[in-house]
């Protein structure tokens, strides 16, 4: 484990005997990274912490199978002022989506789902969805020209949206229905989504959405397990991600929970997040997981390795290559800051298609996603590299996202 200037070596949490094993460490220069430029990452994050941008952060960079940089900085919880730990637990929000997407593709590899399957095969109510067309201040409903497929859900072209992607009439209906409530089950959530009008025709436009929650519901239907049960058996347990789940037991983690500032440091708005130790009714495949940096790093290293970690194959190499390629093409309308210029979207990940265009560096083929509290990760297959930032700072996520990318890539030597 890294010794850092701000955090003493923290003892691994040993309750119940389950501890996430650390990935092997390597000196930066031995994996073609610059120690001094990696130190600059922590230096800049510390500068931001001192400025009050976020309470603290955990950052990790891995290359060629080794972790070359792993730092915990600042404070874990502004209310307690406890220092950030390497094994602090974070709400990863939409970093849940790549995990859920891999789980769906495991069922594809089992021959139990085709990505061309209509969603109505699993939830018949979706055969009757209609598209909401705003006209003369009212929402007119027209038939969907084709059914929503599993592929649409994975790449966010279903026509489903979420209440935070705009203030149009469809998004308003989502907000009014209380779509983000954690008190419904996955089944109830799916039935509720089926009653919402679509924002656009299936396949017409990329629109960030509740699609991945619906995928979670479908996993439950196909596997007969709860989403948490399926993910634990097929992903978390084989990868030894012992601190990952839709909640974490209080006695396991009560001194390791990372929290955001109570008020956004830039706008003053109140910030409130759901409790990490409360078991929710909704195991949200689109955003409900908590995890530690090392847990998610094991998922990331599995991805860098092309689908296996320490002999455990989670997903096939060719399936992963298929997932991490562009699935939009030129005819799907994309108009969202979530897909930067020069990028496309695959089955659960944004994918870089061009070496230039975006406002941050990265290789063609790099794929990633992030969560709304500011956590993010990316995989760069060409550079055999992954990077991970864990933070709870929702209002600062756009800024930190780009800053970290610039700094990590500056450290690539050879």
């Amino acid at each position: 484990m890294a010794r850092t200037a701000t955090v003493k070596k923290t003892p691994a949490h040993k309750k119940n005997g389950f501890v996430t094993p650390a990935l092997p460490r390597g000196k930066p220069e031995s994996v073609g990274l610059s120690s001094s430029r990696l130190r600059q990452i922590s230096s800049v994050l510390k500068r931001e912490i001192d400025k009050g941008t976020m309470p603290g952060a955990v950052v990790m960079v891995g290359r060629r199978g080794k972790v070359a940089h792993f730092n915990a900085l600042g404070v874990q919880d502004p209310a307690t002022q406890a220092p950030m730990r390497h094994d602090s637990v974070f709400r990863v929000f939409s970093m849940t989506k790549p995990i859920t997407s891999v789980a769906v593709m495991q069922l594809v590899e089992d021959g139990r789902i085709l990505i061309g399957d209509p969603v109505s095969k699993y939830f018949p109510a979706f055969a009757r969805v209609q598209v909401g067309v705003p006209r003369d201040g009212k929402l007119h409903l027209v038939p969907a020209e084709r059914e929503i497929t599993i592929q649409d859900l994975l790449r966010h072209t279903s026509g489903l949206v979420t209440h935070t992607t705009g203030s149009g009439p469809v998004q308003t209906l989502y907000a009014e229905a209380g779509i983000s409530a954690r008190t419904r089950t996955n089944n109830e959530n799916a039935e509720l989504l089926a009653t919402m009008p679509l924002y656009c025709q299936p396949g017409a436009e990329w629109k960030y959405s509740r699609s991945t929650d619906l995928l979670g519901s479908i996993i439950e239907v196909v596997s007969g397990q709860t989403l948490g049960g399926y993910l634990t058996e097929h992903i978390f347990a084989p990868l030894l991600m012992t601190d990952t789940g839709f909640y974490i037991a209080k006695d396991r983690a009560e001194n390791r929970l990372a929290e955001a500032f109570a008020h956004d440091p830039w706008t003053g708005e109140k910030v409130s997040h759901w409790s990490m130790t409360e078991k929710p009714a909704l195991e949200a495949g689109g955003g409900g997981l908590v995890a530690t940096a090392m847990d998610y790093a094991r998922f990331a290293q599995m991805l860098v390795n092309g689908g296996t970690l320490n002999g455990e194959r989670i997903i096939g190499r060719k399936t992963l290559a298929w997932m991490t390629s562009d699935h939009l093409g030129p005819s799907v309308k994309v108009d969202s800051p979530l897909i930067p210029p020069g990028h496309g979207f695959g089955l659960g990940f944004a994918v870089r298609l061009k070496p230039g265009m975006a406002q941050f560096p990265g290789s063609v083929g790099k794929y990633y996603w992030g969560g709304r509290a500011g956590t993010q990760f990316w995989i760069d297959p060409k550079e055999n590299l992954f990077a991970l930032l864990m933070v709870q700072a929702p209002g600062q996520r756009e800024y930190l996202r780009v800053l970290i990318r610039n700094l990590v890539y500056a450290a690539v030597e050879s």
């Binding site: 430029r37 230039g356 406002q359 941050f360 560096p361 780009v402 500056a410």
Partner: protein, 414 residues
């Protein structure tokens, strides 16, 4: 130039100022070039010199880390008998832009700014800038649809233009009247004058070759707290031991300065290039440096090495790849005809996108730029090569640049 900063690197010697160390050399055949075809290059340029096309030229070609061709031909100054020398000093004009662009990206790597940051964040005078739309012979001012970003400046999509000789629209004429080429004002004053002018287009919609890189120079000053010259010396010129690159020449260099014909040999128009011995207030990030072939070759070898030279890392490998990639894409209208067919523009460099199309041969991935006084260079990562052509013959580059490019490529054997 802050010569004291340079003395810190070289051994103290009162009689001889520190000199630029040469790169290693090799015979052409050792690096896959043909001596015989390089002799044809020499002959062709001499032929043009004898014809009176240009007074003289300095050319250098390096491959696989070795200089294989380095010649000075013709006369240094039509007014004297001095022959062109390999260490003759030239006005490199817009070959300043790549150096300054690297400077800006160093600050991005340091975590001091993002490419997506709005220009107005650094220079508030730009906050109220409007776009000038020409209608019925008059200029109508409309608001910007989005803010001009640092990325826009780096790739000339800011809507800022050059005035004289780059267009005849009302916006161009407003620029021509604003006395923007004075060497008596500072970058800060230039920025203020440009901020008071309308933009030629909405940000991000057109490539207009422009004063944008001068604004980049001003941003460097603001973010670093140093004058542009001091920043460039400290971060680039001194580490690379480019001891004769500066915003003016010294008295001791008086007899080594390249001069153009006083009258263009083809059009008979007078040729007026600025006095290199004058110390200007203007440290123009867009075109103010003077340099030598040896100096610029060290910059080129650093670029070819992916960002470092002799253990001094100037810029990260991935950051440089990012800069030397297309940042325009298919939707930006290229207005200024400084980009050849088959090429595009990155962050401070032209970038070759196709093997064919262009009026001279080259390799996909080559990145380059040129200076209007008669200089050009390119970096060819795939061929491990760079080439530099220096002259002071502003009206003749339409012929000399493709000639040089054709004959250099003809000399590549293996």
């Amino acid at each position: 130039m802050a010569r004291s900063a340079v003395r810190k690197l070289a051994p103290a010697n009162r009689n001889r100022p520190p000199s630029t160390p040469p790169l290693p050399t090799a015979k052409p055949e050792r690096v896959g070039l043909s001596s015989q075809r390089l002799r044809i290059l020499t002959g062709a340029i001499n032929r043009e010199i004898d014809r009176g096309t240009l007074p003289g030229a300095v050319m250098m070609i390096a491959r696989r880390g070795k200089v294989a061709f380095f010649e000075a031909l013709g006369r240094q100054d039509p007014a004297t008998t001095a022959p062109m020398a390999r260490d003759t000093i030239f006005r490199i004009m817009s070959m300043t832009k790549p150096i300054v662009s690297i400077g800006l990206m160093m600050l991005v790597e340091d975590g001091h700014l993002l490419l997506g940051d709005p220009l107005s964040k650094f220079i508030p005078e730009f906050r109220d800038q409007k776009v000038g739309i020409e209608r019925d012979g008059r200029l109508h001012l409309v608001p910007l649809e989005r803010e001009v970003t640092v990325q826009d400046l780096m790739r000339h999509t800011s809507g800022i233009v050059y005035g004289v000789g780059f267009g005849n629209s009302l916006v161009h004429r407003a620029y021509a009247q604003a006395d923007l080429y004075s060497r008596a004002m500072t970058l800060a004053e230039l920025a203020a004058r440009i901020a008071a002018l309308p933009l030629a287009c909405q940000a991000g919609t057109q490539f207009n070759y422009s004063f944008s890189t001068d604004i980049v120079g001003r941003i460097i000053e603001i973010v670093s707290g140093q004058k542009l010259s001091a920043f460039l010396v400290e971060r680039i010129l001194a580490p690379l031991q480019m001891t004769e690159t500066a915003f003016y020449a010294t008295e001791g260099q008086r007899h080594r300065l390249a001069q153009p014909f006083p009258v263009d040999p083809w059009t008979k128009a007078p040729v007026k290039l600025y006095d290199m011995l004058e110390r200007p207030a203007m440290e123009s990030g867009g075109g103010g440096l003077v340099s030598t072939a040896l100096d610029y070759s060290r910059f080129c070898q650093m670029l070819l090495n992916g960002g470092s030279l002799n253990g001094h890392r100037i810029i990260g490998k991935k950051t440089l790849q990012f800069m030397a990639s297309d940042h325009l894409g298919p939707d930006v209208k290229i207005v200024t005809p400084v980009i050849a067919p088959g090429a595009s523009f990155g962050l401070g460099f032209g970038v070759r996108m196709q093997t064919g199309m262009a009026p001279a041969p080259g390799t996909v991935g080559q990145f380059q730029w040129a200076g209007v006084a008669g200089t050009t260079f390119w970096i060819d990562p795939a061929e491990s090569m760079f080439a530099i052509f220096l002259s002071q013959a502003p009206g003749q580059m339409q012929t000399m640049a493709p000639t040089f490019r054709n004959l250099v490529h003809a000399a590549i054997e293996s």
